[in-house]
């Protein structure tokens, strides 16, 4: 039996406590612009959403300090809520607790893998193309701040690895 890490359990509890589940369901449709396999919730960027008078407040946290996608995410959140009849949106960026890949659920990790990105692991890194564990790092950094670049020794394909943080 593998227990859910405390940090992830806490996020799940926030969502379960929510008074209005429809807002959460709406935002489940907002995907990460750079990794469209994951929603902002699954990525761990979306922290909270709630009504505050006539306004909807959305709390997000950046993955990496300089992540250029954060602005696009904020725009996407505004658009989705506006189209769904909530034009009055306040997006708050929260820094603490700092984003961690511990927030990625098992299903989020599977979605990454199916999308062709090796999910973060403390174990050996498997090739998302052929499943081989015969892999080697090409670069500590990849196409976005959250990824590193690897290559498979068996199928020869390069692939992105989602760095544990």
């Amino acid at each position: 039996m593998v227990l859910v890490p405390a940090a992830r359990a806490e996020r799940l509890a926030t969502r379960r406590r929510a008074s209005d589940d429809s807002l959460w369901a709406l935002l489940d449709a907002v995907k990460d612009p750079e990794i469209p396999a994951l929603s902002l919730w699954e990525l761990g960027v979306l922290q909270d959403v709630y009504h505050e008078g006539s306004c909807v407040t959305v709390v997000i946290t950046p993955t990496y300090s300089g992540c250029p996608a954060l602005h696009a995410m904020e725009q996407a959140v505004r658009e989705h809520l506006t189209v769904a009849g909530h034009p009055n949106v306040r997006v708050v960026t929260r820094l603490a607790p700092p984003w961690t890949t511990d927030w990625l659920s098992t299903s989020a990790r599977r979605l990454l893998y199916e999308y062709g990105i090796a999910p973060p692991t403390a174990d050996v890194i498997g090739c998302p193309q052929c499943g081989s564990t015969h892999t080697a790092r090409i670069s500590e950094f990849g196409s976005t701040a959250c990824k590193a670049l690897y290559r498979c020794g068996d199928c020869g394909e390069p692939f992105d690895y989602f760095k544990p943080l």
Binding site: S65, G66, C67, L95, P97, E140, A145, L149, K163
Partner: protein, 251 residues
């Protein structure tokens, strides 16, 4: 709450991160390999993101309507208070990586200590940034080993960079008056106390990399007082061009 001191302090930390980030971006389209280009750009992005968090915090403290952009692009050379090591021209790849290693080896213990700040935003920035700097240090340390213990050419260039940069490292450990008061009040780390930890990282890495620490005693300082090398003005002229020409321009 000494908010003037907190403002000055946040600006200094923001300037450190912004100026180093800007220097790193100069490698984009010039890096030795594609992978290094991605790496340097990503490290730059982490520093610029960090600068934005510190400027944002400073902006909230004074609430005089100045935005992050105003603070980054609307101040002149003498108003910048970054440490000199961050503004030196990027040099060759060895110079860039030695500088990065010196700064990363400082940032890891510094940001770790910043998490203990009783000012919640500074503590939160510390907690976020230390994860990134730990990753940066792993890479810059690895480059010290590869370059130092690599070819005769890479070794001599790396040693030359160390000799050139050494005199800029004492300033990393010198607090300015506002910082001393904040440290006294538990709001900021005592940066002077981090020197032995930094030196241990450097000594252990250089021993393994067959590099040596210089014995020369020269050192320069002045960044915190706005007294800079001749290089900062050129950097700002390029970095601030757009906002100076079209004030208030937005993406």
């Amino acid at each position: 709450m000494p908010s003037n001191d907190l403002f000055t302090y946040s600006i200094a930390l923001a300037d450190d991160a912004l100026i180093l980030g800007q220097r790193l971006t100069e490698w984009v389209s010039n890096a030795p390999t594609l992978e290094e280009e991605l790496a340097l750009a990503n490290v730059a992005l982490d520093h610029i993101g960090r600068a934005r968090m510190f400027y944002g915090h400073a902006g909230q403290l004074v609430d005089d309507g100045r935005s992050e952009d105003d603070l980054a692009f609307g101040r002149d050379c003498r108003e910048f208070t970054n440490l000199l090591i961050n503004e030196l021209p990027r040099g060759d790849f060895a110079f860039t990586m030695v500088r990065q290693f010196f700064v990363d080896a400082f940032n890891v213990p510094f940001l770790t200590a910043l998490i203990q700040s009783s000012e919640p935003t500074l503590a939160a920035i510390g907690a976020k940034a230390v994860k990134e700097s730990t990753y940066h240090l792993r890479r810059s340390r690895d480059w010290m080993l590869r370059l130092g213990d690599g070819s005769a050419e890479s070794h001599s260039r790396t040693q030359r960079a160390i000799d050139e940069l050494w005199g800029y490292t004492p300033e990393l450990f010198e607090a300015f008056a506002a910082e001393d008061r904040l440290a006294e009040a538990g709001l900021a780390p005592d940066r002077g106390a981090l020197k032995s930890q930094w030196r241990n990282t450097v000594d252990a890495t250089f021993a393994e990399a067959t590099l040596r620490c210089p014995t020369a005693a020269w050192s320069v300082r002045g960044g915190r007082g706005g007294v800079h090398t001749e290089h900062l003005g050129h950097l700002l002229a390029q970095m601030q061009y757009l906002q100076r020409t079209y004030p208030g321009q937005q993406w």
